[in-house]
Subunit: 280 residues, 2 copies
């Protein structure tokens, strides 16, 4: 089936446009939606792109509606791409739990039944969607990536495995060591099976030890985040970074929790961090 | 029943706090929720307050989650109060339509059955909730008010009837002349009955002609708003203002629609407008 883009919504926002599109994904075998923010024109240069990956239970709309990122993206002349978090639809397997199945794709390529056929978010975000967006919008190939929680995991994994594709990466409250925390052990076990060797390609702490090249990373973490101690523990990634001299900044933000209110409070810093590397 | 406040949620946000509270309203005869943003401390002076009234189908949460107003309120040292748009609950009358009943209180005191007992949002916002908030939070009595759509109507009506209570008023895409547009004719007829003399106390165009004192008003209106021609027509209020030398600024924003993306794009201007009058 040829890929066609269907415009579902369009809103003027901070002098640019927030759009929501639907397309058929051959990787995922289902229809998918994504959001994109296109800043107002700033000269003739195609704008660079920041990918924004959302967390468990989210769709493409959470970041678009709640983060407030478009204000800063408009000022800096950045395109924001906001994908969904999993394949969707009646034909796509699901699970009653919020942390497995639809809304919980974990940005990997599943190898196990019943997930194997549709749950290929890694290839979707590494190949199919970037190619579709490059072919459909006037954008630069200068790109950065950020994400929240499970989406922070996705952003870090994509960046660590493709350090030349992205100028920089950042995350809010990311899952950095999924092989060792309950969310990750459950998801990696279900999607990839019990052979933990397969899990390494989706574990940021392990990937950083083997990365082909470095890129700057910024992480913000609230110290009142209910998931900090059991699921997140970003100091594990900071320790790996320190061992290898990796340019990673981890900021602990006092009193902040896991919500989009936390993201909204610091997204300006993240976009300025990316702009510094994208526009250099 | 003594009024007690129950804290439902609290999130750190831009150095301040976004809270959600529940209380029993004696005016409305039901439990109500409201949101409040408390900026971080700025010296010893209690901060001024901006009331934020939402539109049809909204709750106290829309403005809190989608407007992005807290960033600017934190910078300026303003408290934001975000009330619900109607009485709520199984015991409260409702209607299948989105523009009548729960979520559609129109900021008035109903006189007709079945609405009369609970739908008293005017008195709730003019008396009960301000008193509760003044008694419960360390705030200034310097206050301003703004709102969106039906909430823009509510903000203008409260300000025009109480010009000494508010330093300034503003609205995004407000209903300014409800006596003459379909949303208003339906709601005023249902809540107040067919005697149009009763409608005058909730019609900004008519109230402005009789107001006891003037206060500065700012209105933003998108020219791609789907409700502009049939329901809003803010130029009607601008014409009344021009007749009486009222300090009203109406800005038409090209390409913007009726959504919270429109509010987010211009809420900074509104809060700076209010701060100019509140902090003068």
């Amino acid at each position: 089936m040829p890929t066609t883009l269907e415009l579902l919504e369009e809103h003027r926002l901070f002098g640019g446009w927030q759009q929501r599109w639907r397309h058929h994904s051959s990787q995922l075998g289902c229809n998918m939606t994504f959001g994109i923010f296109l800043p107002g024109p700033k000269g003739d240069t195609p704008p660079p792109v920041v990918w924004c990956l959302a967390g468990l239970t989210c769709t493409d709309e959470n970041f678009a509606v709640k983060s407030g990122a478009q204000r800063v993206a408009a000022e800096l002349g950045l395109v924001l791409v906001m994908p969904d978090t999993s394949p969707r639809g009646d034909e796509v397997p699901n699970d009653e739990a919020y942390d497995l199945g639809q809304g919980a794709g974990f940005y990997l390529n599943a190898t196990q039944e019943p997930w194997r056929q549709h749950f290929r978010m890694y290839d979707y975000l590494n190949e199919e969607l970037p190619a579709l967006i490059a072919a459909s919008f006037n954008i630069s190939d200068r790109q950065a990536i950020m994400g929240h929680s499970m989406g922070g995991h996705g952003a870090l994994v994509l960046a660590l495995r493709n350090p030349h594709r992205f100028a920089s990466a950042s995350a809010f409250a990311p899952i950095v060591n999924p092989s060792e925390v309950p969310w990750g052990v459950k998801a990696l076990g279900a999607y990839l099976g019990e052979d933990r060797e397969q899990w390494r390609q989706y574990d940021s702490c392990l990937l950083m030890q083997q990365a082909a090249a470095q890129l700057p990373i910024l992480i913000d973490q609230g110290d009142s985040d209910q998931f900090l101690a059991d699921q997140l523990q970003p100091e594990r990634l900071e320790a790996v970074a320190q061992q290898s001299g990796w340019p990673l900044t981890l900021r602990i933000q006092p009193g902040y929790d896991h919500s989009y209110f936390f993201i909204a409070s610091f997204v300006e810093d993240h976009l300025r961090f990316h702009a510094q590397h994208l526009l250099a």
